[in-house]
Symmetry: C2
Subunit: 353 residues, 2 copies
DNA sequence: TTGAAAGCGCTAACAG
DNA sequence: CTGTTAGCGCTTTCAA
């Protein structure tokens, strides 16, 4: 490995022309076809490859975009990453994955580090946001697009979705299915998703004409299956010790919902027979689970795609700053909330049937 | 945004010292404490941030490492990515995710593109490998570590695992549990994992003292749940139309195994009662599934970690080329293959019980 | 259209 | 220990 790298100077020498002409010929900008021919040949013979860093330093562009999240293991973020890659890659951008860390402070640090110029732009989906974060993004050296919260009012590009409304849709669906004692399994309230989803649940359950007999919220430590199992046990037991029982659980995401189903099974409850369960994010894991999970889709792939298109506009298209795009949540009804069949494309018999 | 960037020259001017001294002071290499003090202050006042590209061009290092796979959506690769990030990030390396594409040709192109110098090294887990690939890696401009196949014989660093042996362990486990009519649900044979897993199954089922009555292989189009459902239907129906029935299915990965369980349910078969099913990769989706999936762990996180440590050694430690590390497969018995309880840390009641 | 030359921001010789 | 200087590889003025 490591054969000595061929530089543009060498191509120029071989072609017997100037360095400048060589560069122009390779880019097809203002060069005679004869020149192009000569240079192309020389380049091919030497196996020339333009050096990314030299180019970057001169052009003041890295052709890289960062994607930043707290936990790249989360399927939602993986979907976003895939979509972002699909949009940006054809335009010659590479994707650098970076971690925001768990706290706002580390997230702000990351945004500030942008002025070391290692990327031309960033898509970030922060778990927690505060004024310092907003300021950091506004002062950032390169365009930043935020997924997760509308920040157009601050002149920040963002892509968001109405997850509060999505939770409302889940509640409505359960009420329509005759459920009356609804529990809410949420994650930490000091996160952006936790906060808005709680708001959604509270709004839906205090709405005019709300017909439930009982509502109860329980918070999981984070948005994982394990935390969901724990919190769901607490929730079910608490209600049971009050001498009643839930007939539905709305979970703040699919992983928590799966945790809830496991906890329900432990207690001998059938899903959806005794207990209907809904999730959010419409992840593959939920689609594949048995019973397949009724879930509110927030179309992560679409949010990723839109965010990528926003950075692209900012970088190449000279788009104006402060745009805000929205993705509408959509309830996908499957087996976990309805005893009969769901809308699943490949409906399977229900295990508890 | 985009405040004019502060360069080292400006810091030097402000501190009233030379450019070189400024650089040295900031790196703590051969500078008086007084000098360090002055420069630090000036840098802080100006909010100086070293520019990544300038540094890279001069040092001929990007402090970036690429991670390349065909499909970053696959949970196995996500685990690897996470692990690689955890190892490399503390050493100051950023991770660039790139796609190998589906074919060997595109994979080779990617490896060849390394001499444009956008990263200092690469971890790649290719689906398909041939001589051209091996040559490309050997001629690559930067260290490349391959996950998936032992290539030390070619002087290439690699991390592999005995997936063939892993499949054998699954077969042995099923035989020990009294299963005698075993189907094998594999993916495409022209992929590295498909080929070796098939080899494993064939070896196990033709071994001396092999006690099964019947073995059947069916190939899915790829390693996804949907393809698994299709292939499992074919497999089950084919055996049924021959007037008999399988009592176990070994799947080449967890996603196929889940597909197999769905197909089995469609046909009214209980898992593991009528049909025991095993997977491979020990993914979260399998752990969380109901019934939880017996699976052969290939410890993707560990393979990622080891690969990252290999590049690190090559980059920073001056390690020798051509190392080969192995991860031992481990069978994790859960509900899908054993009627009673599994080894799951959080055992739950069995749905079919 | 072509060539000469400057310079992106930084580090590392080399002298002093 | 400090300063001067060269140069990483490239693109893009500016003149011819």
């Amino acid at each position: 490995m490591t054969p000595p790298r061929t530089t543009l100077v060498q191509v120029a020498q071989r072609a017997g022309v100037s360095l400048a002409s060589t560069s122009r010929a390779l880019h097809g900008t203002g060069a005679s076809s004869e020149m192009v021919e000569r240079v192309r040949t020389a380049a091919a013979e030497l196996g020339y490859r333009p050096h990314a860093t030299g180019r970057s330093l001169r052009m003041q562009r890295t052709f890289q975009v960062a994607f930043a999240v707290a936990d790249i293991g989360n399927p939602v973020y993986v979907e976003m990453l895939t979509a972002i890659h699909e949009v940006l890659s054809p335009h010659g951008y590479r994707i650098v994955v970076t971690s925001t860390g768990d706290t706002v402070a580390s997230t702000v640090d990351l945004v500030r580090s942008l002025d070391s110029g290692f990327v031309d732009g960033m898509v970030i989906s922060p778990l927690r946001v505060d004024d310092g974060f907003v300021r950091a993004v506004r002062e950032a050296a390169v365009p930043v697009v935020v997924i997760g919260r509308a920040l157009a009012a601050h002149g920040i590009d963002s892509v968001s979705t109405d997850s509060a409304g999505g939770i409302g849709a889940a509640v409505t669906h359960l009420l329509a299915a005759g459920r009356r004692r609804i529990g809410f399994l949420n994650g930490p309230l000091d996160t952006t998703p936790g906060e808005s989803r709680q708001r959604g649940f509270d709004a839906a359950t205090t709405a005019a004409g709300f017909s439930a007999e009982l509502t109860e919220t329980e918070l999981a430590e984070d948005f994982t299956v394990a935390a969901g199992v724990d919190a769901a046990r607490r929730l079910l037991d608490r209600v049971a010790s009050a001498g009643t029982a839930l007939d539905a659980i709305v979970a703040a995401n699919d992983l928590l919902a799966i945790g809830a189903i496991r906890a329900a099974r432990e207690r001998g409850l059938s899903v959806p027979g005794d207990l209907a369960v809904t999730g959010m994010d419409d992840t593959e894991i939920g689609r594949v689970f048995q019973p397949s999970l009724t879930s509110v889709s927030l179309d992560s792939a679409r949010r990723g795609r839109l965010a990528a298109e926003l950075v692209l506009g900012l970088l190449d298209g000279g788009a104006e700053q402060g745009q805000h795009l929205t993705v509408r949540p959509e309830l996908v009804v499957r087996e976990s909330s309805v005893p009969a069949a769901g809308t699943s494309t490949a409906p399977t018999r229900q295990e508890d049937a």
